[in-house]
Amino acid sequence: YAAWAAGLFTLLGLAQLAPRIPAVFDGHTTIERWEWMPASGLDLVFRLDGLGLLFALLILGIGLLIVLYARYYLSARDSMGRFYSYLMLFMGAMLGIALSENIIQLLVFWELTSIASFLLISYWQHREDARQGARMALAITGAGGLAMLGGFVLLGEIAGSYELSVILASGETIKAHPLYLPMLVLVLLGAFTKSAQFPFHFWLPNAMAAPTPVSAYLHSATMVKAGVFLMARLFPALSGTPEWSWLVGSVGLATFLVGAFIALFQHDLKGLLAYSTISHLGLITVLFGIGTPLAAVAGVFHIINHAIFKASLFMAAGIIDHESGSRDMRRLNGLWKYMPHTALLAMVAAASMAGVPLLNGFLSKEMFFAEAVSAGTHFQLGWLLPAVITVGGIFAVAYSFRFIHDVFFNGEPIDLPKTPHEPTRWMKIPVEFLVALCLLVGILPALTVEPILYVAATGLLQTTPPDFDLAIWHGVNPALVMSVLAMLGGGVLYAFRARLFACHEKYCGRIVGKQLFDGLMSALFALARGLTALLDRGTLQRIVLSFVLSVLVLGVAGFLGSGSPLTGQRGLLPLDGISLIAAIGLILAAIGTVVMHRERFTALVLIGAVGLVVALIFVKFSAPDLALTQLSVEIVTIVLLMLALYFLPQRPARQSGNPRVLRDVAVAAAAGMGAGLLAWSVLTRPYETIAGYFLDNAKPGGGGYNVVNVILVDFRGFDTLGEIAVLALAALGIFAMLEHLHLPAPRSDSQGRPWNWDMHPAVMASLTRLLLPLALLVSIFILLRGHNLPGGGFIAGLVTAVALIMQYLANGVTWTQSRLPGNMHPVIGIGLLIATLTGLGSWLVGHPFLTSTFTYLDWPVVGKFEVASALAFDLGVYLVVVGATLLILIHLGLMHSTSQERSQLPEEGR
């Protein structure tokens, strides 16, 4: 069914095309547009002119034959659906190339053909060569496509539009633009890679791992023509400059020669055809490179002819492979006897390839020779061009001879897997049809091909094409002489093949593009691995180091680049003794932490002192709330660190060598200097802030005297909501993370002493119990007064938490846990909910989220007191802090007991 559907699809395409053909022959260019990205100049625009029509017909016509052929070529084990859907994807994309008006759109289809080609080459996925060939083709044509994208972007910029109508009309502007050469190179890279031009040709032979219908269709008739199509398409806009001629001409010529030369030495039938295809593509390229209108017409003509004879040759080769089980010409011999019909067809097509008169290949080759001769008259040593081309022609004839003689004659087949025989009728029909075309065009060019060639040339040149004469006999002229020389030379060359092959084996066997490509690829991968490993060692130290260094570079660059002074003009505060003592103490303790960080307990005690002095600094510089917070956080942090320290090695071995330590000291010192100088530069500068507003509005607008607290719960309550969400998240994250965690508890301390027997010293236990109500009272006090005096929900929450931690410390987990609500999740949830709902409450009275309100109540006996929504918010904060802190600590405290007695775990739901 897949084949039927594909056939139907192709016919449908032809049917769509048919009604539009007459307009083209009338000289009109049909443009159809669907808006896509008009603002960026990319619409879906299709253009049907002669050139496009010619290609569309080739694509659909040969496509239809291939669909038929492949139906019988593929075996029952192959997935027809997959094959045909890829094939149709390709056909659609190829049509898209032929019919695009917008070059970006053209590129889209262009890359799609590469993708389709990749899929089709790797169709037999189990074969290594298929996979490699597909990847190579994708890499090369993909690279070209990308270059072309660059070229097209430049072209669009130069021409002011991506649409061919504009581009083709502004050839003069384009050629005069300073970006012409880079643009040209990029565009041509695309074309050359796609059309397998030297030195990018080597992907094509490797693509022969594809099923033969694919080779016939994509890799000879259509896709590889996309490159030359592009040269034809952009011919009026880009050609006619020396750059064009030299680039296109020389690459084409090299390709023509190299392809023809290598083709002769291929033993694989498809290999020969592949290199021959390369050579012919070179031929066409040379024609476009010559740059005259007539040469371009010849180029188009050869595109048609090559598509016809090469497709039939590939199909014939496919038949031979299919029916004999081999493509090796050293084993294939004398097939004339086994499959005379196929042999005849193949021989006619091969003759056309060789340029034998009365066949279509002869006509375009004659034009090619003629154009080469006339082009050669325009520069010094111009005779070299026809001479060199004749040499190429000799090889072309020789490999064509080989194709005929080595396969169908030359003795008996050697050791073939199958006994060859004629294929089914339906497999031959496409070949017959194409060979018939070879003959028809070859004998009656004016009746068959001339009209379509004429409109195609019109489309190509965007003007009336020059007169051309498709006669078989032009009289004796240089071109005919070249043809004859090629024929004779080819025959002679083939006659001496044995010696030639030996010679080739000896000297040229090694130089294969594939190996070069593979080497390049492995070098690329090695480079990638090397560079990546150099940067990304997967170590945290590297990550942190690169961060610190980057930050230093950024900060220094920022400051130095500004040219402003380090120190500002602000008056400074005098120094006093106590501050000095405290600061020195802090600095020594901090340095002590660093120096003694391997004695972890000591480091911990020292960092406690650092935290205390930080709190003192807050006190000194008028921040009581901060001091309270810092003090509470400090203790909880130290308790946490101790809980952790229990499970970590106490005195680890020294890790870093001296060089690393020195480096880190230098980096750290630089970072410290940076931070200190930045602080200095700001502290010494005068400033003006929005703070006045808060001081003015805290009481009248926020109902509190403690401006810091009013900012926290009111002016910037949203920050606080986020902050408690962070705390809640930390608790939940820790809870989730510690689940199922088992840590071996050390049985002795760092000096190897076993732990003390006294789990809960009685003195501590009984007196801390005494402290609990006291501490709770203090925490409520701090909560309630926060709005007007230092304090607030956060500090209160921490005090409560610390009071409860004290119980854990003194009386143990089991004892305390049994006296507290087991599950802290609801506490966190409700706290956050209260805070959020307090914020949402303001919606009810038509204010934005978190708008506060407060009022004064005057109750008998109690007196006048303030009720503020901010207090509810602070209560939420309080609950989250208590819940989160306890959830974290308790769970950690429980951790080592989990391994022993899981049953004691408080039930925390998922």
Partner: protein, 111 residues
């Protein structure tokens, strides 16, 4: 009244200082422990009382909440000291006194 205040302030500070001096100066942990736990409680106590007096005089209404801190320190400081010496014994820190066998043998535990 200023004299009383000044006296309290200086006395308190002096005791605080002496406590820390003991911490710095004495030769073994157990003796060092005495300084801070005692001297500082009284030292800080004096300063707190000074504060109470000062704010009772200088602001309307008496200020007695400083007593809370004092009370709190009186409850906690001995517990800290007790635990510290317990820890020091556990770590078998050297003492200036040769420990008497009788006193320790049953105390210097191993459960």
């Amino acid at each position: 009244m200023d004299y009383l205040l000044s006296f309290l302030i200086v006395t308190g500070a002096a005791f605080t200082f002496i406590g820390s001096l003991g911490l710095a100066r004495l030769k073994d942990f157990y003796t060092r422990l005495h300084g801070p736990t005692k001297a500082t409680t009284l030292g800080v106590g004096c300063v707190l009382v000074a504060s109470a007096v000062y704010f009772s005089l200088h602001e309307d209404g008496i200020s007695l909440h400083e007593i809370l801190v004092t009370l709190f320190l009186f409850i906690t400081a001995p517990v800290s000291a007790h635990l510290l010496s317990k820890a020091a014994l556990h770590q078998q820190l050297d003492s200036l006194t040769p420990r008497k066998g009788k006193a320790d043998s049953n105390l210097n535990e191993r459960r």
